[in-house]
Symmetry: C3
Subunit: 342 residues, 3 copies
């Protein structure tokens, strides 16, 4: 594709030779002739001068580069679009692979693709153009909306409801039993049957080997447009709002409610039966034992206001010094006291 | 089923119309006509007045509800029983699916169910009424006790021994190689063969995508009745006692011993080669570098007594203020000192 | 095998009866007649006197044991070698199981073993003697080097490149989509296509249910000889050096660079776009928000020098006491001040 065509499809202003043929998007360091690169993070600006790319996407006010330029008001967004425009089509062919095991009463939408050795349970319904990669297991009564993609070895347990345009990465488990037990007087734990459902709304993405549990009653729900990274644990009865980001290895305990546009960074933990308000951000490894009001930026364990945490953390390493100072003050004070007593 | 019959099976005292027909258990908020709800957590007591349920399970001394009531000495336990009584039977039919690949010398118990595309290795033994869901892989020489249930895509490696009534959720891995290496003088790590076994005792539950490693020698063992949540890591040679709870994303390093009735809350980490006594509880995200005596309640990293940790944590955010106070005391003390010197 | 033969193969000095026949390696506690045990960790030295083993591996200067002895300059290494010498051969037979689904244009090396229900995609290449266990899914265009072993239910996504002698434990996912989104002015997240590759160099081991993401451009790379434990998350574009150790539940965020001979203990988190120098060690649960210089030993969150952290942590629990002392000093100082004023 020529650079002029790409500029047109991305809505970028072209500076340089529009007849260049571009075949690939690459990083500043990796790019060579025929490649389009990009500058989105100012941290990497110094690498522009030495790039071997044929063309670069960059901001309107960025320093000129030694190659053709696509000027963009939002370079990172234009980069993403360039990937879509120049990317591969890796969608498998429509149709049901002969080795897949599809229940006779399952419904498969038009142009859907069901890969080798997938298992589709009784009464399940797959929308149009759904892609089911090899070894996916879809339980009885599951419903999956149009254009969703399930990568290899995903497990969707019975009666879960998955929206449209949902992407689920390899090995994720949707609808496993919630961790619910009643403990008797002898400390023996008895299983509470977990037979209710998980609902995944439209446009959600779920990462590799992430697990989302079903509750005994009610539902576990992930709101529209929320993106969940790898190895995240969502317990039974949790409700996550719309357009939130749950980064890798986050854990949310049972029955908690997470608002819209929330960001939980990597390895954050959220206790059970609490509410995280809209637009809350928690930095990495934060532990949240109590409800958090909308808009807060929190850190630490237990979670406190991020600025307070930054200040307190900066002092933490000086605790030995503080203790010495305290000791020294005490000695000096004693000296004064005994002098005045005398 | 009528409410009177349910009251009878749950051993609850009925207040109200026993002829009501109940079809489902539901939460206070979701319940409607025909539903039985429950009040177990006092946090939700205010919602009783507005429930649309036909009946409710609640404590003997709870405020009366605007519907039929099942009075219980243990409402949460009665709720769990109601779910069993009213729940679905989702047990797949007995028999071996024709697509399963079962070694000729494997032994399958009576009324066992082996699902589509399961693989059962040479010499494996499955007890009576065992349920193996689709895509489970059972290695050579594995033994599984009566009435155990293996959900989809579970992997049981060679020679692991699984007890009776064990439930393993989707994607869990039992018996993967322990993380054992010898490092030479050049810092190169050489694999130590990990060929010993994992033993899972009776009545254990193991969560989705949890991993339990085999050791080189000796065994990794999970004691009777212990319940393990999702995404937990149990390293090689660990021994977990009976009736313990390991909540999501807990990690236990190699050769450590965890007692009976221990509770490790979410994201807790336990170092290797240490002992956690019986009835220890560690709150979420606690890091345990050293052995802990029986009965302790610990928090923080490194783990300390929970009350000490709560008090210290409450002061942590005030460290900047403490430092200012210290500075101010020093200034005042200097003023006194110089005045007295003069 | 006789003890004399084992001594010879391990290069150990024999003290005692070389004609003893040894069948197994076992722990000090478990060993009985016919077993070879070992003492590598001085913590367990007191158990030597009571072992029932026929022979023991121990250091040249260790106290004599009540059985035949193999004296070794490196007892742990000799133990590992003994396991190799006496271990089982669990390598499945070469050949492609008839239930495996292998693309017609895939290339399978000599003496490779492809297990039941494995799926090998178009154009994939497997080296000589590669072992693919049941239910492994290998995507189109994947390349796997000689002598690598993929345990059950591993997922290798399209075009990933795996070196020689790599071992991947059950359920691991290599090449899932990176967590990359562009957020628009309404807070809606749009997926950035992730179509580049993961490269795993020679002699790497990857643990059960670990996930390694592919980036949009560039590559994610794991250097030669690095060993990764279970449930680890490696984000898109991360580069890990050679001979490093990433212990269970570690998470590394996007585009970060981890050096050679680095050790990240369990549950450590590393932020995105930073550099961890060679030979850095981070103790368990450390959170690393900024780059770390080569050779550092760090702890805590945010990560600081390990000695500083140990000292500060020891004082942390005494914060309530420190605050009381501060208060008391203030009172005493006020008393002096008012006395001097009077």
């Amino acid at each position: 594709m020529t650079l002029a065509e790409i500029a047109d499809r991305l809505g970028c202003r072209l500076e340089g030779d529009g007849t260049l043929v571009i075949t690939r998007v690459a990083t500043l360091d990796d790019a060579g002739p025929g490649d389009l690169t990009f500058l989105a993070n100012p941290k990497y600006a110094s690498r522009v001068a030495t790039t071997r790319a044929s063309a670069i996407i960059l901001a309107e006010d960025a320093e000129p580069a030694p190659c053709a330029m696509l000027r963009s008001p939002q370079p990172y967004r234009s980069f993403a679009q360039a990937l879509s425009v120049l990317g591969r089509n890796e969608r498998p062919a429509a149709g049901i692979h002969p080795s897949a095991i599809v229940a006779p009463d399952a419904t498969i939408g038009v142009e859907a693709s069901v890969g080798p050795l997938a298992v589709i349970g009784a009464g399940a319904t797959l929308g149009n153009r759904v892609v089911v990669h090899p070894h996916v297991v879809i339980g009885p009564g599951v419903v999956i909306g149009d254009d969703s993609v399930l990568h290899a070895r995903v497990s969707i347990r019975e009666r879960s409801r998955i929206g449209a345009r949902v992407v689920i990465q390899d090995g994720a488990v949707i609808g496993s039993d919630g961790y619910g037990f009643v403990t008797d007087g002898d400390g023996v734990h008895h299983k509470i049957p977990q037979q209710s459902v998980v609902v995944i709304e439209d446009d959600v993405e779920i990462g590799a080997n992430t697990t989302i549990d079903r509750p005994a009653v009610g539902e576990t729900r992930i709101g529209q447009g929320t993106k969940i990274d790898n190895l995240v644990q969502i317990a039974h009865g949790v409700k996550v709002g719309r357009h939130s980001l749950l980064v890798a290895q986050v854990g949310i305990a049972g029955s908690s409610i997470v608002g819209d546009h929330v960001v939980l960074a990597g390895q954050v933990g959220v206790a059970g039966h609490i509410t995280i308000g809209d637009r809350v951000t928690a930095t990495a490894q934060t532990g949240i034992p109590n409800s958090i009001e909308a808009g807060a930026l929190v850190s630490g364990y237990p979670a406190i206001d991020n600025r307070d945490w930054l200040k307190a953390s900066a002092i933490f390493r000086h605790l030995p010094e503080l203790r010495r100072q305290l000791k020294s003050l005490e000695t000096r004070l004693e000296a004064l006291e005994s002098r005045l007593k005398g």
